[in-house]
């Protein structure tokens, strides 16, 4: 057990170092950082001074160590475009993305699990077939297209819901939330649903497959022989045993929800980190790119680590199985 944890921790550190190296090389070697910081009229001498002062003439390894130390403290320099420290920008955008992602994850679970249980119990029912067909559409329709269609229907034609932004937000210290106002909640519905839809289909299919498998097992047959009610068997015994993989996969998917939030945020102009990142890419705003990359990698590594440890603790059968694949 301890050897396993140490090996996984070592691997995680290695991944973070690799990502850090990519982020650092981006920052250091893509374009000239000095050119991006100073104005046109700075003399060569001043540039050279700044270069020396920022330590850009130091050996590679020293610079990388400094970058890593700063990154660990959450400092990623100054955005070329916004002319503000990157960490400020990210802290400002973080609540929007986290709120959207969490609401989407909850939505996916709350709708996906019952749909999965239903299709597992009534595999040939009409409703089951409809659910399965819808889930195929959920896999085939790209996220951004779903968002656009929702905007067209509920935003433009019916005019029920706002089509962009977060609506009214309330500040709680440094955290801003849209969950406490009607406007904020209304603005959240469409983006959260768009983001949740794919995960929802994934969870539904997973729960369905697990239910079908569990319902075939002997202990379910024994439970029926003992005369337990269907309700107790289906929910007390069968569903409970399907939940381990569902919870771990939802955990793993949390990372990909945050990554897919890039697309959703872009469709709904949701002021989160994803929108910041995509703007940074098209404007080659490297400090922001480097920071987002390092952060999201850290997030993924932590989630994967936790899930791996959970696998190990909860269900030894799952240890041999591979990791769950994400979309795309």
């Amino acid at each position: 057990m301890i050897a396993f944890i140490i090996r996984r921790l070592f691997q995680s550190v290695l991944v973070m170092l690799a990502v850090g190296l990519i982020a650092f090389s981006l920052f250091r070697y893509v374009g000239d950082p000095i050119n991006n910081m100073v104005g046109q009229d700075t003399t060569l001498e001043q540039r050279e001074q700044l270069r020396e002062r920022l330590g850009l003439n130091d050996p590679f390894i020293v610079q990388f160590a400094r970058f890593a130390a700063n990154a660990a403290r959450g400092e990623f320099g100054i955005s070329y475009r916004h002319r503000r420290p990157v960490d400020d920008l990210i802290v400002e955008r973080l609540p929007a993305t986290l709120e959207l992602s969490l609401v989407a994850a909850i939505m996916a679970l709350v709708i996906g699990v019952p749909m999965g249980v239903y299709t597992g119990l009534h595999r040939d029912g009409v409703l089951s077939r409809i659910f399965m067909a819808v889930s195929l559409a959920g896999v085939s329709l790209p996220t951004f297209l779903i968002g656009i269609l929702l905007i067209l229907l509920f935003g433009v034609v019916l005019q029920w819901l706002p089509t962009f932004g977060r609506g009214e937000v309330v500040s709680l210290g440094w955290w801003t939330t849209g969950l406490l106002t009607v406007g904020g909640l209304k603005a959240l519905i469409m983006p959260a649903f768009t983001l949740a839809l794919f995960q929802m289909t994934l969870i539904m299919r997973l729960v369905r497959a697990e239910m079908l498998e569990v319902l075939r097992t002997d202990y379910i047959k024994f439970a029926r022989a003992r005369g337990l009610t269907n309700r107790a068997i289906n929910f007390g015994h069968a569903l409970k045993n399907t939940l381990v993989p569902v919870i771990t996969i939802t955990g793993l998917q949390l990372g990909s929800i945050i990554a897919f939030a890039i697309i959703t945020e872009s469709v709904f102009q949701w002021p989160g980190m994803g929108l910041l990142f995509i703007q940074a890419i098209s404007e080659v705003d490297i400090p922001v790119m480097a920071a987002y990359l390092t952060m999201i990698a850290f997030f993924f590594v932590v989630i994967n680590l936790i899930v791996d440890l959970l696998y190990y603790v909860v269900d030894p059968r799952l240890r041999a199985g591979g990791t769950a694949g994400g979309r795309v």
């Binding site: 893509v30 790209p142 951004f144 067209l152 990359l293 990791t323």
Partner: protein, 308 residues
């Protein structure tokens, strides 16, 4: 020679695969739709009713015409026109050309890398194997779209702007390809591990056939079934990824729009009521991906000996 091709066709018509294909109406439908869209895309310059990127034939006075069956529509433009007076049907056909081209190229690229690494990994084993597979594990824990975005972002930083526009399609193929090789590598490695212990491989080895030849001529053909299945499903994924990147504005340049770019452009006119500029390219994309997915699902079941 002719009789041999004849017998091959006959063999194919007698095969299980053809039988299961003809027995599934949904699959036949998906195949017809896919084929139709392929033909429309590949032969777009000859089939399209207009040449949307030939400035001489585009008239700004035709801009924002609704589809032909709606009042105010023009029978010359079946699905209406966009903000520059271009025929939507024609832009879709030309856009599908780029979408499919990038999709296919990325799949082939990912397949070549994945199959090669999978073969090496499975055949050599040892340190090489664990390094490649560790790398695959790590990459698989990140969503492919993020990796593709990252590669595109780096390329944007490294290449000067005008050069990037020129090379954008190649960058995109590279990015989508790199983000998708792992599935192939894992599958091929698995098959290789099974095949390499079989007698025919050992016989070839004893006969003095070089390892490279054994891998390519003997092991690889036996691993190709699953690779084709992954390839089909990956094609759908690659098309979606390309469309998503183009929609986000980091894909192909606007001068040669793919379906994703068309949706992005049309998105600006959604609020002023010109829905057809977005909805038709969107529908084309969705139908294409759905059809390819259905074909992939069928192929997976047809090639799976357990289900026969």
């Amino acid at each position: 020679m002719a009789s041999e091709t004849g017998s091959r066709v006959q063999r194919f018509l007698d095969s299980d695969i053809w039988y299961s294909f003809t027995r599934s109406p949904i699959t036949v439908g998906a195949a017809i739709v896919t084929l139709a869209m392929f033909v429309a895309a590949v032969f777009a310059p000859w089939l399209a009713p207009h040449h949307p990127f030939d400035l001489a034939t585009v008239d700004l006075l035709d801009a924002f015409l609704p589809p032909a069956w709606i009042e105010g529509g023009d029978p010359r433009f079946l699905l209406g026109t966009d903000d520059q007076g271009r025929d939507i049907l024609s832009t879709i056909m030309f856009g599908a050309r780029i979408s499919l081209g990038v999709g296919f190229a990325s799949v082939v690229f990912a397949m070549v890398i994945g199959v090669t690494l999978g073969l090496i990994s499975g055949y050599l084993g040892g340190t090489v194997d664990s390094v490649i597979m560790r790398f695959a594990d790590i990459q698989l824990s990140f969503p492919a779209i993020l990796i593709a975005l990252l590669i595109d972002g780096v390329a944007r930083g490294v290449l000067p702007r005008d050069m990037h526009d020129e090379l954008a399609i190649y960058v995109l193929v590279f990015a989508i390809g790199i983000s998708g090789w792992v599935q192939y590598a894992r599958t091929v490695r698995g098959s290789t591990l099974v095949e390499k212990n079989k007698e025919y491989v050992q016989a070839a080895y004893v006969m003095g056939v070089s390892p490279l030849l054994i891998m390519v001529r003997h092991v690889l053909p036996n691993a190709m079934g699953p690779v084709l299945v992954i390839g089909t499903i990956h094609l759908a994924v690659a098309i979606i990824t390309e469309a998503t990147l183009s929609f986000l504005g980091v894909g192909v340049p606007p001068t040669s729009p793919s379906l994703g770019t068309l949706i992005r452009v049309g998105n600006d006119f959604l609020f002023s009521g010109e829905w057809w500029i977005t909805v038709f390219p969107g529908a084309a994309l969705a139908i294409l991906v759905l059809a390819v997915n259905l074909l992939g699902d069928w192929l997976r079941d047809a090639l799976n000996p357990k289900l026969r």
